[in-house]
């Protein structure tokens, strides 16, 4: 069984601090939904409100159509996986997994049987009698998932459960989590500050900043059609040029930037373009959208000097200084076996098409921009 989760006008305040601001989101049953945002953006607070550990200051949370106001975490059809997993160290692995069943008064033999089934599901058969500290990080991870699934929740809530794992294991667990979600078919709500996790696993991603939902969409949408400057700068790498709108042409904006005029497409919200003549605007171009012009006539061009190059294996990362903008930009070029053809220190012309650049209203940026 999987349930829809609906957040209507949800505000969460701690004194003067607003952790969530007018959140309106509908999560479809059976969906893998991620909240993505930097630490302190309110995503964990929102998750705790869904799980019932805190009540929103305002607004309603519905799970499976039922209003959850006043219903405690022990009575909600949700199960939460904690960031540090919070496995019970003094219980055997199988007792951990069967805890929710023990709470429901299931007999010991039946509990053991169910725990063994779940151990099969998480590919740890026969490990039930071990103690938690005898397991590796990835195994603990899977036990925490099994423990949460044993409660047969309609919604599984995951609070950055992969953040303690090393890179390889984290990447492996992404695939694993997604596979488990598809096998059990329940709604997953996943909290992360790691865009890679959010983009690879989720059906839908909500990007959060300072308690505000900046954009909701699938990974492609978020990455290619960012709705705000924050989303553009937080999700993936992006090069930013500041400027002012000199003209609007359908879905495209002409922007007069300090590197010259650039043409970029706009992301429509509710069918409207977000910019008009003379607005301050940001133009974002992704590193992989930049190309060496090499004589090709691009609509947008930027002059730059190659500062240094890094060979990353499957691609080249090239850092360039743009004199007029006094800034450094980066480009990624797929390693197709050819030489780059440009030396460090040489002046080059970069080109990109308007479709691969996004013009957005000036606004807050992710930290570090």
């Amino acid at each position: 069984m999987s349930a829809d989760v609906e957040l209507n006008d949800v505000w969460i305040k701690f004194g003067d601090f607003v952790a969530a601001r007018d959140v309106n989101i509908t999560i479809e049953g059976g969906e893998f939904f991620s909240f993505l945002g930097p630490s302190g953006c309110g995503k964990t607070t929102l998750l705790r409100a869904v799980s019932g550990f805190l009540e929103p200051s305002q607004g309603t949370i519905k799970i499976g159509g039922q209003n959850m106001a006043g219903i405690g975490p022990n009575k909600r059809p949700t199960a939460l996986i904690f960031q540090n997993l919070a496995l019970f160290p003094l219980m055997a692995v199988w007792e951990n997994i069967a805890f929710a069943l023990e709470v429901r008064g299931m007999g010991k033999a039946a509990r053991r049987k169910k725990a063994d089934e779940l151990l099969e599901l998480i590919a740890l058969p026969g490990q039930g009698d071990k103690l938690v500290h005898e397991l590796s990080g990835g195994q603990k991870q899977r036990v925490a998932i099994a423990r949460a699934l044993a409660a047969e929740p309609e919604v599984l809530l995951l609070d950055e459960p992969l953040s303690a794992l090393d890179l390889k294991l984290r990447q492996h667990m992404r695939t694993e989590l997604r596979a488990i979600q598809q096998r059990v078919g329940i709604t997953f709500i996943y909290i992360t500050h790691d865009q890679g996790e959010a983009l690879t696993m989720s059906d839908q991603v909500a990007v959060m900043r300072e308690g505000i939902i900046e954009q909701v969409g699938d990974g492609n949408n978020i990455y290619d059609h960012p709705a705000t400057s924050f989303v553009a700068s937080f999700v993936g790498e992006n090069n930013l040029f500041r400027g002012r709108i000199t003209g609007i042409d359908g879905d495209y904006a002409m922007v007069d930037t300090n590197v010259g005029p650039l043409k970029a497409r706009m992301t429509k919200t509710n069918g409207e373009v977000p910019l008009k003549f003379n607005d301050d605007a940001f133009v974002f171009v992704r590193p992989e959208s930049l190309k060496f012009a090499n004589g090709v006539n691009y609509e947008n061009t930027v002059r730059a000097r190659i500062a240094h190059q890094e060979f990353e294996g499957h691609f080249w990362q090239v850092y360039l200084d743009v004199a007029q903008a006094e800034k450094r930009i980066s480009m990624s070029l797929v390693n197709d076996g050819q030489e780059l053809g440009h030396e460090t220190g040489s002046e080059v012309t970069l080109g990109f098409t308007p479709d691969l650049a996004v013009a957005l209203p000036e606004g807050p940026l992710a930290a570090g921009e």
């Binding site: 199960a79 960031q83 540090n84 919070a86 160290p89 709470v103 429901r104 423990r147 409660a151």
Partner: protein, 309 residues
């Protein structure tokens, strides 16, 4: 590691001066303050009660008569026991046991509240109000209890004013004051080990259990108490040992007809003038309480090392 090498490293690490100080201090503490007095007590308990002139003389021989006296009294015929002393002994241990249980039940919620629920100022205020009364001397505190529980004391006055009693209740002859005083005397030694144990429990575990639908009772039974077991054993051990060995509270708060075993020991040393017998009684109390503690630890599967944590 061989001992001489270990010693060498110890001095290398701490330096000569500090090393010698540490060794001397520990040795002084162990031998002069703990082992030696206990050995003297054992020696005393196995000697005859002789006038000073005859000590070391031909009559000064090893004897178990004081231990036998505890069991059989002065009676010569077999099958007659020293019911007075044995009765007091059993009653003392039993009372100490119940005082320990009472303290545990009382202190667990307080310790849990302080460790997991209270934040900042309010928690500090509570800790302070637990500690400050213990700045007052133990004997003064016992007298304060005597005044509180007296027939014209605060408690009787209040109960009569509230209409619950129409005449004062005799708290002291009925030993209510004694048990209240003993229960309060070592309360901190129960709260702090419990607090330390519960405080180190990850809050998320409590929340995880709650999230999986567990009632508060089950959360405590399955998650908090197993985790706090070393703290519980440590607190119970201290309270039990100290209550069984308490003297001030029974002297001051005890009813006229009730004796605490330590009072009998005190009498043998003091008015009775029989130090060997007092020593034997003290050893009996010490060994019995240690055995009881070890037995209880065995039953609850607690290791000695865990208590020291």
């Amino acid at each position: 590691m061989n001992p001489s090498l270990a010693l060498q490293r110890f001095f290398l690490k701490n330096g000569m001066a500090l090393g010698i100080f540490l060794l001397v201090a520990v040795a002084f503490w162990m031998f002069i303050l703990i082992i030696l007095p206990q050995l003297f007590m054992v020696d005393f308990s196995l000697s005859k009660n002789l006038p000073p002139a005859e000590i070391g003389g031909p009559k000064d021989v090893l004897t178990f008569e004081h231990y036998k006296f505890m069991l059989y009294g002065s009676a010569k015929e077999a099958g007659s026991f020293n019911t007075v002393d044995l009765g007091v002994f059993m009653r003392t241990l039993l009372a100490a046991f119940f005082v320990t249980i009472f303290d545990l039940v009382l202190c667990y919620p307080i310790a849990y509240y302080l460790a997991q629920v209270a934040h900042g100022g309010w928690g500090r205020l509570m800790v302070l109000s637990l500690i400050v009364p213990f700045w007052v001397n133990e004997i003064l505190r016992a007298f304060a209890f005597r005044i509180m529980f007296g027939s014209a004391g605060v408690i009787n006055t209040f109960l009569i004013w509230a209409g619950i009693l129409d005449q004062p209740y005799d708290f002291i002859p009925n030993n209510v004051a004694l048990y209240a005083g003993l229960g309060y005397a070592f309360i901190l030694l129960m709260i702090f080990p419990l607090y330390n144990a519960i405080e180190s429990l990850d809050k998320n575990q409590i929340e995880a259990a709650r999230d999986m639908g567990a009632s508060w009772l089950r959360i405590h039974w399955r998650v908090v108490i197993p985790f706090a077991k070393p703290g519980i054993s440590s607190g119970c051990t201290m309270v039990f040992m100290l209550t069984a060995g308490a003297l001030a509270a029974p002297q001051i708060l005890g009813g006229p007809s009730s004796l605490w075993f330590t009072q009998i020991i005190y009498q043998w040393f003091n008015t009775g003038g029989n130090w060997p017998r007092g020593s034997a009684y003290a050893i009996i109390l010490l060994v019995s309480t240690i055995l009881i503690v070890l037995l209880v630890m065995k039953i609850f599967k607690v290791k000695l090392g865990e208590i020291a944590k």
